[in-house]
Assembly symmetry: C2
Homo-oligomer: 227 residues x 2
């Protein structure tokens, strides 16, 4: 649940002295590995391995930025769209890392969905995370969600599909093809029928036990599992 996810993160940061930068780096890299597994370069239909990564202003967006950077290292061609600049210095650092690596940024998202369908193979939704209040989504995010419901290229959502409540599956929200749950799946993932990955292989065993998480076993040195 939302509350448990927040409690685990607090415990990791306070008691285990993990850093947010460190966690975001682990999650973002694992997301890129999951995307490369679900959509290998050789499987992409378009001439260029283009990917549009939509990054929100909170932690979910930071993870999207790290993911875009690793996708670039994996020879994909990510383009980033930041609907709203973040005030968090960590988010800004991750943004600079992408800018300095020559990853292009869109200044606005085309409302004509055909333009998005034509330009990109995939869309990564790292816009809103589990903390977002889905009953009160404001601009610019609400407008983007309207666009995301119309595109017909595959959508990969990070942790929680944007606009969904973390606690329950959405009837009328966006419909991602792939969901990458971070650390442990949120309740809303229960009835998700697309490809589902778990990412974030660093959770101490004590925390897994304490919260009764029942995490399946990762194989070898893999940083993701397909559920």
């Amino acid at each position: 649940s939302k509350g448990e996810a927040a409690a685990i993160e607090t415990e990791l940061l306070k008691d285990y002295r993990f850093g947010q930068q460190q966690l975001v780096e682990i999650w973002g890299q694992a997301c890129a590995v999951a995307i490369a597994k679900a959509y290998p370069l050789s499987s992409l239909g378009k001439k260029q391995p283009t990917v549009l990564v939509i990054c929100g202003p909170e932690q979910n967006g930071s993870i999207g930025l790290v993911c875009a950077r690793h996708l670039r290292m994996f020879e994909y061609e990510p383009t980033i769209y930041l609907p709203k600049r973040s005030t968090q210095s960590l988010h800004q650092d991750f943004t600079v890392q992408c800018e300095k690596m020559d990853i292009p940024f869109l200044s606005y998202l085309p409302t004509e969905v055909q333009l998005i369908n034509d330009a990109y193979n995939l869309l990564i939704d790292a816009m809103l995370g589990p903390e977002a209040d889905c009953s009160n989504i404001k601009e610019p995010f609400s407008g983007i969600l309207v666009t995301l419901k119309q595109v017909n290229i595959p959508i990969v959502s990070v942790d929680v599909p944007s606009g969904w409540d973390a606690e329950e599956p959405s009837q009328s929200g966006i419909n991602p093809d792939v969901l990458i749950s971070l650390t442990a799946p949120k309740k809303c993932a229960k009835s998700f029928s697309g490809k589902h990955f778990l990412a974030g292989r660093f959770l101490p065993y004590d925390i897994q036990k304490k919260y009764d998480l029942n995490i399946p076993e990762y194989r070898g040195t893999d940083c993701i599992i397909e559920l």
Copy 2:
């Protein structure tokens, strides 16, 4: 060279706004993956998959701590030896992460090498990095190097074998079986004849070009290459 390595790191931290925590996490995780590749669990001779990780008080040691944590996630049984507590808060955080994950710490290193040979399958040397002045190694490190020269279990060195000058191969120093170069091999690795990995797949292409690094191509989503 040593100077170039330092200049690249400064550029990553200042211009690219990478964080030290982020880089250490990437490097440490990649080291664990390289160790698991060189010495898979199934190849270990002893009943328990024990590994001794010796971590110095500087960045090399922080990387060793992260490496030990990931080895634990990969089902190895690391034990850590910190010859000297670090004053860096980042190093202390990485130490707490290991302590809270129930990774045992040795309070001293046995001088009787047979005890080390019997107890561990492998020894990871994350003691001294490229910045160390190898002409003037003080206790406790000099004593540990004497021990390391005598053990007959395989040694894996992180970035630069402890006691070696980063610029030239050592005649009389320790003799690791595996070397994991970080970001780019240092000059001393030129004549290294053991298994040699490169770890740290995040170096922006512009930096690779600027310093004429000629990094070989990583495959797929691999975070290491065997050279």
